[in-house]
Each structure stands twice: as structure tokens, then as C-alpha cells.
């Protein structure tokens, strides 16, 4: 299941340059490159002639030349040269995709180009905000994208999958979780009041006593998960919205489906302390990467079973509330997109 009328993260900004980059998104092969003036371009990575990926070709000025028979396409995806003939067949063109560079990521619109409004790009400003330190990361995962959405909305696995890394028994024993939802959004909020800070927080936050700690997960379709985590000295009013004398981080996740069973996982860990210290950024990023790799092992093992037994029955437990609400939103949005597409087809006939 894919949702098409959305902006997806296609690449980190530094990945796209004068060397064509192929990336499959929502099952569609796309080639990315930059024109000589630095503007990013995205079009179908399949020559209109004999289907070779255009990413195997090379840039000549602002045109991309196919490696097979030398057809050249300009930045609008239109073929402008066919070697050995003067006439260019009108069908010699490839589909282009709306593309925007923002927050150190390059975003591509996968739906109806007429609806591609850059204002709809989900906010990830922490990745390039001067008040935060961050370094965007990428992982390729051999699992369905929704397994990652499930995982990021579920805090209870921390005590098991991440027992030796970011897990902490206080998370399970002393926490109250609240799930709230609106039309297209799920919020999972957990407060841990008046408990010792985990060692990593003590190190960077210099806490002397107990803390009030929060984990607030924001899910925005199709697969954006922004986690607000942090701590302040207990009793200073963080639960009421006054955050003073503490630390906070944003764990930022944008998952882009590649195929039904693989995905691109873009993420970053932004921190509001020691923001200009590259070592600190590297350290918090590395810590999360270690934990994420523990998750990836889980996703890929789940996917192996789901490939063997598609759509098996499953049991729900109380901790699944956030996951189930998100899945319900995605199912509804998918049904809406399918209905709109069917209506368009009927209107066209």
C-alpha cells in the first residue's frame, strides 16, 4: 500500500550532484541529478526507447544521455537528440517529478503534479536550524515501511529490543502513556515524573537530582515521525509547558517506501545542547544509530515471515493503541486516494 499525493524524502542534499543517482520510490525508478546551476532534477529512470536506466548514462551540460543508444533528455524529461536521425519522436519523453530541497533533504512529489504544493512538506526544520545540532542519516531497510511506523509509535519495545542501549526500566515501570488523535495525526505522550535521569542525560544535562522526562511522538502521514524527548529538573514545570534548565532532543524520521518490502529510512537526531560541537552531534547520532540497527534487525526478520505468510492474522495488545490509530488513518487515506483516482477515471471516460 502506497500513498501517492505526498512529498517524500528522496535523498540527502549532498547525495545529489553531477553524477546521476538512481532511487526507486513507491515502486517507480527515478533518476536524480543537478543541473549546472545546482538545481535538483528528478525524472523517470527508464529510457523511453529501450528501458535502460538513464542513471547509467552521463550528463552533458544540462542533458542526460542514455548509455545505450545516446538519446539525450533535457531537464524537463523531453528527448532533444536521437543520434543518427533529425526527427525526434514525440513519445520520446520521460515523466518528471516535482522536486524541492529543504532541511538538508531533497523531497519529491509522487502524486498528481497539479497538487504539488511545497507548503505541504512536513516540518523538519531542526535539521538545519542554527539553534539545534544535527546530522541527517540514511539507512536502507529490507522491510515494509509500515513496520517502521509501527515501531516508532510503540515505546514498549525499548525495554526488550534496546535492553542494553537506550532501554531503561523506568520507562516501563513509572510511565503513563496517553494517545491522542486528530483527523490526520496521532500523538503518543509519555511522562516520567520525578525519576532518576538515565546516564546519558546526566552526562550532557549535568542533572544533580531526579528529573521529569518526556517522550512525545508525533505521527504525520504517510510516514513522518517526530519524537520530542528531553528532561528538566523535577518540579520545575515541564509537564505544564515550562521547560527550563534541561535538555531536549528531536528524533526525526522520514520513511520513504522503495517497494512493498523495502524502504529508505531517513533520520536525524537534533540536540539543543552543545550545538556547535561536532563531536556531540556525532555521539548522539551514533547512539541512536546503534539502537536503530537493533530495530532494523527486527524489521527485516518480520519481513521474512511476512513474505512467507502474507497478511497473517495478528493479536493486538494494549500497547498498540498508537500503532492502530496510525494504521487506521493510513487505511482511510489510501481508500480516499483510490476513490478519487477511480472518480477521475470515470470522469475521463
Amino acid at each position: 500500500m502506497f500513498l501517492r499525493n505526498y512529498w517524500y524524502v528522496a535523498a540527502s542534499d549532498h547525495e545529489i550532484g553531477r553524477q546521476p543517482l538512481r532511487r526507486v520510490i513507491l515502486g517507480e525508478p527515478i533518476v536524480f541529478f543537478r543541473t549546472e546551476d545546482g538545481a535538483p532534477v528528478a525524472f523517470e529512470d527508464r529510457c523511453a526507447h529501450r528501458h535502460l536506466p538513464l542513471s547509467m548514462g552521463k550528463l552533458i551540460g544540462d542533458t542526460l544521455q542514455c548509455h545505450y543508444h545516446g538519446l539525450r533528455y533535457d531537464r524537463t524529461g523531453v528527448c532533444v537528440r536521437v543520434p543518427g536521425q533529425d526527427m525526434i519522436p514525440p513519445s520520446a519523453r520521460v515523466r518528471t517529478y516535482p522536486i524541492v530541497q529543504r532541511y538538508h533533504w531533497v523531497w519529491v512529489w509522487m502524486g498528481d503534479p497539479a497538487l504539488a504544493d511545497p507548503d505541504k512538506i512536513t516540518d523538519f526544520h531542526w535539521l538545519d536550524d542554527p539553534n539545534w545540532g544535527a546530522k541527517p542519516q540514511y539507512l536502507h531497510v529490507k522491510a515494509n515501511w509500515q513496520l517502521i511506523v509501527d515501531n516508532l509509535l510503540d515505546l514498549t519495545h525499548l525495554a526488550f529490543v534496546h535492553e542494553t542501549t537506550i532501554g531503561n526500566s523506568a520507562l516501563v515501570e513509572h510511565a503513563s502513556v496517553k494517545v491522542t488523535r486528530s483527523q490526520d495525526n496521532v500523538l503518543v505522550t509519555r511522562w516520567i515524573i520525578d525519576q532518576p535521569a538515565p546516564p546519558t542525560f546526566v552526562k550532557v544535562g549535568g542533572f544533580k537530582g531526579n528529573v521529569d522526562r518526556w517522550q512525545i511522538i508525533d505521527f504525520t502521514p504517510p510516514a513522518f515521525l517526530r519524537l520530542d524527548v528531553g528532561a528538566t529538573p523535577t518540579g520545575t514545570g515541564a509537564p505544564e509547558g515550562r521547560r527550563v534548565g534541561g535538555i531536549s532532543m528531536r528524533n526525526l524520521n522520514a520513511i520513504t517506501p522503495e517497494t512493498e518490502s523495502t524502504c529508505h529510512y531517513f533520520w536525524g537526531q537534533a540536540h539543543d545542547f552543545d550545538i556547535h560541537n561536532r563531536e556531540t552531534t556525532d555521539k548522539v547520532t551514533e547512539q541512536i544509530r546503534t539502537a536503530f540497527l537493533e530495530d532494523v534487525a527486527v524489521f527485516e526478520a518480520q519481513q521474512v515471515n511476512l513474505d512467507l505468510i502474507p497478511n497473517p492474522p495478528q493479536t493486538d495488545i494494549n500497547a498498540d493503541t498508537g500503532v492502530i490509530q496510525a494504521r487506521r488513518i493510513l487505511d482511510r487515506l489510501h481508500a480516499e486516494e483510490q476513490a478519487a483516482a477511480a472518480a477521475t477515471r470515470v470522469a475521463a471516460e
Binding site: V177, V179, R181, D316, N318, D320, T321, I324, Q325, R328
Partner: protein, 105 residues
Amino acid sequence: MTKWHRVASSADLHEGEAFPVDLAGTPIALYRVDGKIHAIDDVCTHEYAVLSQGFVQDGTIECPLHAAQFDIATGECLSGPATQDLRTYEVRLEGDDIYVCAREE
């Protein structure tokens, strides 16, 4: 043994929110709807799900897992997958103390 148990204080309850309590071994939830206090079972009659972790809207509680809906005042099951109603409990307010009457087994 008295059937009435003090389970909460009036200040614990807020409109639009469930307040789960233990009533002599039975998990129930208290709600305040338009000022009136109600007490109903806190386990969905479909599968084991804690209803107070679900969603309160317009005098109903929606199960957090499979979206069955119940009327908070009457316990009536309004939509599936559940088919059975929830049990309701008598509530008495004495000052700020909320008392709920346990059912005879």
C-alpha cells in the same frame, strides 16, 4: 462487607477523560459527562483491551484497539466488533469523595 467503595476524589475526573480505578478487584472507569459522573466496566467485551486508554467523544468511549463504541451513561454497545454491553455501576458523591457500588457476584 460493604458494597460501596470510595474509589476517587471529584478532582480526579475531567470532562472528556477516563479515570480507571479498581473496584474491589474489578477494573472499572469513571467518566464525567456534562457534569454527571458515570462508572462502567473498563475492559472491552470484545477482546481484552483497556477502554480507559481509548477515546472519549460525545458521551461515548471508543476502544483503543478495534474501535468498538459504548455509551458511557448506559454501557450500551453502539458499534462492533463488540456485541455485548458494558456493566454500569451506581455512583454516589459525598463531598469530594466518589463512591461506587460493587455488584454482587
